[in-house]
Symmetry: C2
Subunit: 178 residues, 2 copies
């Protein structure tokens, strides 16, 4: 619980939202889910997060209907629900803010509208189609700021190539090291 019992007094939807997704690591976990990461070990390796905390966050997200936990091939897979997918504007805008205002000027990731191959702008708008595509219609690829990332885990390696959001990350293409 990010705010203890405070949200009751707040009576505010923002406080309630922060109860669910405002804890440490949670938005980073969800960002990875949008990228297509679905498995415990992939999340753990990519985020370098403690197992206990990852377990707790996933449990919280499942309990709040943001993720589902499904068995696939004997392994659990964590998938975004519709509620979870609705967080994309928040994650996108916060990431853009970080890019603009706290980091270097170069985006680490670029997002393009899969239907027309146009890069979306800072508010997620596709100028070719005149719409704001949902995350399922976006392709993520490395941007000029990517050199800031020196991670060699399987997720980071898979994201070195363009990848359709929400489709599974291919983590079977080789060992973690490299």
């Amino acid at each position: 619980m990010a705010l203890g019992t405070g949200y009751e007094q707040q009576g505010c939807h923002l406080a309630r939202a922060l109860e669910v997704v405002g804890e440490r690591w949670t938005l980073l976990i969800l960002r990875d889910c949008f990228y297509g990461v679905r498995r415990f070990t992939d999340l753990r390796e990519h985020l370098d997060i403690s197992r206990a905390v990852l377990t707790d966050r996933l449990d919280t997200l499942v309990a709040n209907g943001v993720l589902t936990r499904e068995d696939s091939d004997g392994h659990p897979e964590y998938l975004l629900t519709e509620t979870g997918r609705a967080l994309w504007p928040t994650i996108f805008s916060l990431s853009k803010w970080g890019e603009r205002h706290t980091s270097g000027p170069h985006p680490a990731r670029l997002f393009s509208h899969a239907a027309c191959d146009t890069d979306i702008d800072d508010v997620g708008h596709c100028h070719t189609c005149g719409e704001v595509p949902g995350p399922e219609d976006l392709v993520v690829r490395p941007g000029p700021g990517t050199n800031a990332m020196r991670r060699s885990d399987r997720v980071a390696r898979a994201l070195e190539r363009p990848h359709r959001m929400l489709t599974p990350i291919d983590t079977a293409s080789g060992p973690a090291g490299g």
Copy 2:
């Protein structure tokens, strides 16, 4: 620091953003700043937050260029910078998400475009003007979900009436109690 030193390995703008605004209370403080709250005591009363934590969060936000600390009439005032104002889409979308997906169906606050008096939609769009107004062009007023709030502090009372965002909250209109 919300993520310790983790953001270095992440090389990700979202992680860097969360370093700045991802700590407990921070987004609620900033929401209040958008509403026009500027003073330490008003923030403390409205959020019911410990003095030490509020001090720490304000210092962090000032140090990261999200707020400025200025003296007005002998008292410090905390004001959003341009960088801070750029967080509005994030706060708005997360609040909308909380409204839709974690709380009741009724918005606690409604936002209208001051120029044309039209309520903005869930993505912040004004259908009359065909644009997405910035926070300085919005008026906030209580919505049908407001009854969930039973706070009687001065900020809550001031927000019982429509209020132009980013203009100072009038907290001198009476004592805190009611």
